[in-house]
Amino acid sequence: MSKPKKQHEVDQPEQTPSRRSFFNKLWIFLGFVALVEFVGVVSAFLMPRKKEKKTGNFGTIIEAGPVEKFPKESVTAFIRGKFYLARLKDGGFLALSRKCTHLGCTIPWVSEEEKFACPCHSSAFDIRGEVVSPPAPRALDIYRVFVENNIIKVDTGKKIKRTEFRGEQVTYSKAS
């Protein structure tokens, strides 16, 4: 401590020095602030960096193909995009994530049984991604589908979480 002792501190040896205890508490408080800042900085440092993504790869907008290419009630796998493009009975499109919502395993589409069957813990989902067999807690995540010049495009940059299937999630092309 480089502060010179004030006269009245020496004159009152019996009283608790309030200035000292104030500064001690201030140090402890600043210590906590430093700890919070440290955690913040470390986690920001470790956070995923934004990477340059080549078009056509996962994380960008992927061209699936012309609308006519996909028959109704079919599921087409896109390996690089890590999604399935499902065309429902009414002609609407859904882009489903291939990751199981239970613990992240990659789910194959079993066409004979018309469902996605997870090999890890036997969760199952129907063509709309809804859970038909637990332990998965929610429907498969989806990606935004839009149509440009009659070409189906999927935005794999943003995964959309949902609890269940809803009509608004389906994309229809003008033709169907």
């Binding site: 986690s43 470790l46 956070m47 995923p48 960096r49 390996i79 890590k82 291939r98 990751k99 199981c100 239970h102 613990l103 992240g104 395993c105 990659t106 789910i107 997870c118 090999p119 890890c120 813990h121 036997s122 637990p134 807690p137 995964k159």
Partner: protein, 437 residues
């Protein structure tokens, strides 16, 4: 040609003074017995040094990138002199270390070596135990084969279920939204730099605390009272000789095992194909098995957090007596522990089978959210059962709270071991219960 006597005397003095930097000159004669500690702490140190040594050698060959990692290990095993042996030693030492520190932890519990003045050293020990588990887990990803990739995928996915910070924590550890190049870099930095540094700091602290509390607990039978003056023995040669023997036997065992058995290596990681079944590493099998029976919020968050708090508080409970040095505290304690084991062996398989084939809480309580029907309700059943066990066994044996808490600990331990064994050997394709043959 023999060196002159004065050189030999010099070497001997050097060696002795080096040893006596870390050891007291004299130790109580009764603490020399193998059956006190089984040399487990010492074995842990030997294994850590073997891991660091082989790890450093592996660093010369391993490349922590998804498109290079797998191939670099194959190259090491095929083309580098002793490459296979070094990898095997590293792998088996890593798994054996986890077993050894777990047994050491049990030894400390059952010899009462956590009572004052050893309470804080218990906390340091728990920190070391966590470091061993994280080292095992981060190392598990390094081969980047199917086993590694998917085990890490499901274990990191479990983080998502932690309320509030779960998703942030998962993103931080994965370095993204899924296991990828960032994950491998992060795990590699953690595994080869951060954890070894923490290890060395905490190990030193741990050993210093042992010295500060006067060394090992003095073993005695339940009837004996604590002696005021212990019979002394010389560290050199009595203790050093015993430690050297244990270390050499352990090293020989690891070498022979590593020569005979290869570390596993499956096909290269394929993010598009999940194996069936996909299992967590064996030390997480207990949690994985709990996941099969309880809602994730409870099996992945509530129960583990409660267990961690209980372990941290364990030495600070207001115990009625301090039976350090007596195995299981007393003869009554031994009987109660046995009763706890028998109850666990009886109740756990029944519980597992009932939940697998007969109970379906989610269906019976149809409208109720699953976090309550398959989470809170069974959790409360377990809590009530545990409290009931504690009260009943304490009353039946008119036991001290030492003995009752120890019995409760043994109960949870036995249940956890049975759950782990089920998860490792009795779960097959589709995670269905099946016999392992």
């Amino acid at each position: 040609m023999q060196r002159p006597a004065r050189y030999r005397e010099g070497y001997r003095r050097f060696f002795n003074s080096l040893v006596l930097h870390f050891r007291p000159r004299i130790v109580p004669e009764r603490t020399l017995r193998l059956t006190l500690t089984w040399g487990l702490g010492g074995m842990a140190v030997v294994l850590v040094f073997m891991l660091i040594g082989t790890g450093l050698l592996l660093k010369f060959n391993y490349e922590p990138f998804p498109d290079k990692a797998y191939e670099s290990i194959l190259h090491l095993q095929r083309n580098v002199l002793f490459g296979s042996l070094i990898r095997n030693i590293h792998h088996w030492s890593g798994h054996l270390l986890l077993v050894v520190v777990f047994l050491h932890f049990l030894r400390v519990v059952f010899t009462g070596a956590f009572h004052p003045p050893r309470q804080f050293n218990w906390v340091i020990g728990l920190g070391l135990f966590c470091i061993v588990i994280f080292s095992n887990f981060t190392g598990y990803l390094m081969p980047w084969d199917q086993l590694a990739f998917w085990a890490v995928t499901i274990c990191t996915s479990m983080l998502e279920y932690i309320p509030g910070i779960g998703q942030w924590l998962q993103k931080l550890i994965l370095g993204g939204s899924e296991v990828g190049p960032a994950t491998l870099s992060n795990f590699y930095a953690i595994h080869t730099a951060i954890l070894p540094t923490l290890f060395i700091i905490l190990m030193s602290f741990h050993f210093w605390r042992v010295r500060k509390s006067g060394g090992l607990v003095i073993p005695r039978s339940p009837k004996e009272s604590i002696e005021t003056r212990e019979e002394p023995a010389n560290t050199i040669p009595d203790l050093i000789l015993r430690e050297t023997v244990v270390a050499l036997v352990l090293i020989a065992f690891i070498l022979i095992f590593s020569i005979l058995f290869n570390a596993p290596m499956e096909g290269k990681a394929n993010p598009g194909l999940s194996p069936n079944p996909t299992k967590a590493p064996w030390y997480f099998s207990g949690i994985q098995e709990m996941l099969m029976h309880f809602h994730p919020l409870f099996s992945l968050f509530v129960i583990p957090v409660l267990m961690m708090i209980a372990l941290l508080a364990f030495p600070y409970i207001d115990y009625e007596s301090n039976p350090s040095g007596v195995w299981f505290g007393s003869s009554k304690g031994r009987r109660m522990a046995l009763v706890a084991v028998l109850i666990a062996i009886g109740a756990t398989p029944v519980g597992i089978l009932a939940d697998e084939y007969m109970i379906d809480l989610a269906a019976w309580m149809h409208g109720v959210p699953s976090s309550i029907s398959t989470g809170l309700i069974p959790f409360l059943v377990i809590v009530v059962g545990s409290i009931g066990f504690y009260v009943l066994i304490k009353r039946k044996y008119s036991a001290t709270n030492n003995e009752a808490i120890q019995a409760l600990f043994v109960l949870f331990l036995a249940v956890f071991i049975i759950l782990s064994a089920t998860g490792i050997w009795l779960r097959g394709i589709g995670m269905k219960l099946m016999l392992p043959f």
